[in-house]
Amino acid sequence: MLRKILFQSLVLAVASTAQADPYDSTYTQRQAPAYVISNATILTGEGERLDGAEIVLAGGKIVSLGAVGASVVPANAVKIDGTGKWITPGLIDVHSHLGDYPAPSVKSTADGNEVTSPNTAQVWAEHSVWPQDPQFPLALAGGVTTLQILPGSANLFGGRGVTLKNVPSRTVQGMKFPGAKHSLKMACGENPKRVYGSQGKAPGTRMGNMAGYRAAWAKAREYMAAQDLAADDDDKKAPDYSLQLETLAGVLRGEILVHNHCYRADEMANMIELAKEFDYKITAFHHAVESYKIADLLAQENICSALWSDWWGFKLEAFDAVEQNVALVDAAGACAIVHSDSERGIQRLNQDAARSMAAARRMGREVDEAHAITWVTRNAAQALGIDDRTGTLTVDKAADVVIWNQNPLSVYAQAEQVFIDGYRYFEREKRRPVTDFELHQTVHGQGTGGAR
């Protein structure tokens, strides 16, 4: 068994290091012993709760899940007593700027927003990621195993986002989630019109925003048609290669997922019309403070909403917040995700989900822990197109697993152990990645053990 597992890991390692394209992932799954965690409360991320259950991790995968003793445990597996512990899939944040806006947050590290043109579809967030950002291990301590890094929202088209595994690495390629699609960050509303309007440039209004998107998509449609024509007909010349149009055409071809910063209900409706006009799919609206006003429409269009539990009021388009936003979207049968867009929030996504769960209950909708955890696991994985590999505790999926000291839907919950592809990257009070930047700073070495 062990030999088989080792062999599988080797094959995986070889497969994922064989570079097909520049900038591809070089992430390699680390060798790790098998683990068996017993007598725990398990929230599967599929909406189920298993009490007094057992999970076995081996070869980077979940190999079994169920009643204690029902599974074949590999010899030499490390046994972990899960009594009193809760287990969830690794948490996934679909909206982060870690690495692009790292700490310390000073001018020389502000690499998250290419505020030079309303259309910067050509930039890739991964090219700004500083893997030594000390905020990565803080998110890991909060149980986050996967995160999407997006460009900022100053532009109509901010650029490509990237999905990363939250592992220590010298390069961003070493963090890239193998095979995960790129995303395109788009932004509605106040930000683009403020940034460019104040410079006397387009867009200066919300109608200017819409005109900006439509013009760009029209161009992308022509570009794609010309490429397709050239591919079919040797006499036709392919259009000049454009980094910007490659991204937009990638969306039209369904290869790149649209993640759309958009707060107001009416603007989301406009964006839905835009997507119909140019025949592309919106994967998720982000922030979406007013999703609850059009929850039926979002369900009908099968668009996710990536939301905060209660953050509000920092600008007018975030003024109509309700604490039941997640609950109402969820109740309408639309895909609800709890996201952070915050280096603080990403450390406690479980608490934000807990707050939304409590808000649902306050309005009389019964939501249990097993369901609430899907907002930060399965649903987030779906929006990143990686739900076939992570986001739920399912046999043969990645062993991205968090052991919590108690019910994670609580302010008192702490992630005690965090596994990514079966390797234990975090053990509270014992072991966590330390970034280069943190070395010899006087955080550690004094006080109670040095955890930030």
């Binding site: 700490a103 310390p104 947050s105 000073v106 000390p134 905020q135 803080l138 106040e190 609850y292 006003k293 929850a295 039926d296 209660d310 953050w311 509000w312 009021g313 920092f314 600008k315 007018l316 003024f319 109509d320 917040a321 309700v322 604490e323 039941q324 109402l328 309408a332 280096e343 603080r344 450390q347 406690r348 608490q351 807990a354 707050r355 769960m357 409590a358 306050r362 309005m363 839907l409 609580s410 302010v411 008192y412 702490q414 930047f437 943190e438 700073q441 006087t442 955080v443 004094q446 006080g447 109670t448 040095g450 955890a451 930030r452």
Partner: protein
Amino acid sequence: MSFIRSSVARTMGHFLAGCVLSAFSVAANAATIVITNAKVATQTNAGVIDNATVVVNDGEVSYVGSGASAPSVGGDAQTVDAGGHWLTPGLIVSDTQLGAVEIGAEATTRDSGVEEFSMGPAFELRYALNPASVLFGTTRASGITTAVVSPRAANDPLAGTGLAISLRDTLDPSQLILSDRLAMFGGVGPRYADYVGGSRGALVVRLREALTAAKRFSPTRYRADDNGYTSSDMAALKRWLDSGAPLALEVNQASQILQAIALADEFDLELIVTGGVEGWKVAKELAAASVPVVLDPMDNIPVDFDRLGARLDNAALLHKAGVTIAFRSENTHNAGWIRQGGGIAVVNGLPFEAALAAITSAPAEIWGLKNRGSVARGNVADLVLWSGDPLEVTTHAERVMIDGVWMTLDNRQERLLERYRDMGNTVTPFGFR
């Protein structure tokens, strides 16, 4: 009041500054209210009392203790069975912009500090306070009954005087204000150094110069170019120095906290540190100087080079060293996050009682708010009944009392919820719901 040093004059001054406007009558609080079967966090030496009864009379707490020993009240008293739930003092949030900001990014609604005009110590928030702000409703619903409103400097290391306000339901700003010149606010971090040429070295010199000049300030002999401050700034500094009200400085770096302590000592000022991210490194010095710290327990990110030592157990380490701590929130709109901050501080080593104190009795002590922050006979009846553990993110305020009156918990967010909660209703247009 461990942080107040021995100067009687200063203590008296503080007392006066804290009580200027608090003596007004509240109309609708004459009724007697009896709350039975509560788990009361008294925030006094009585600690937590299970199965307790609290009697409220004329806006004040007239009894707190066991139900068995409770005095009998008249038949017209309202009785509320707390069902064994937590009853705490109304929460006190430190260092917000409540009533001075409606929408963060909207300059026309943002009056928490001057932005394109030079005014420092003379800036007074009391003229900017907007009791019609919808934030009062949402903030009350989060269990907060008292707030410290502090100015935000845009171009001066000294930002002006701040307020303590009650979250009473009134449209008269003067009725909200408990203290109109609570403290002089300012800071000595990198942002503040930018106002004086970019170096902390200049900053401390500048502050000393201003304080020295203010002591002997006379409006008839003062020339504005003496140190760059206008006559009204200098008058405000002198008035504040004479009042004995504290100096609240935003300072995070350990070495700068020591500079602030030295400055306060030199001018015999009562210092309050806000921010205090690296406070744990100089906890002993803070305790020795009786300087309290107002902090956010979630501040664990090395945001800049002044805060490289940020860590989650800052609150616990300061408390352990004997420093009085109070909590603030990152956002005024989400002032209620101080409860979550409390829970996080507890997980990281702060005793539960100290975390609760940091949002009730400790800020009352730090900001000199008499008769608030604890459930005791004679105290203002600001009380909150919780659905569960008050520091837990899954609980909420079930009832909120201010001045002995149950507040409505209705607010703009509740109205939005009611309007949109039923997507299946095809009869009533949304605009009529």
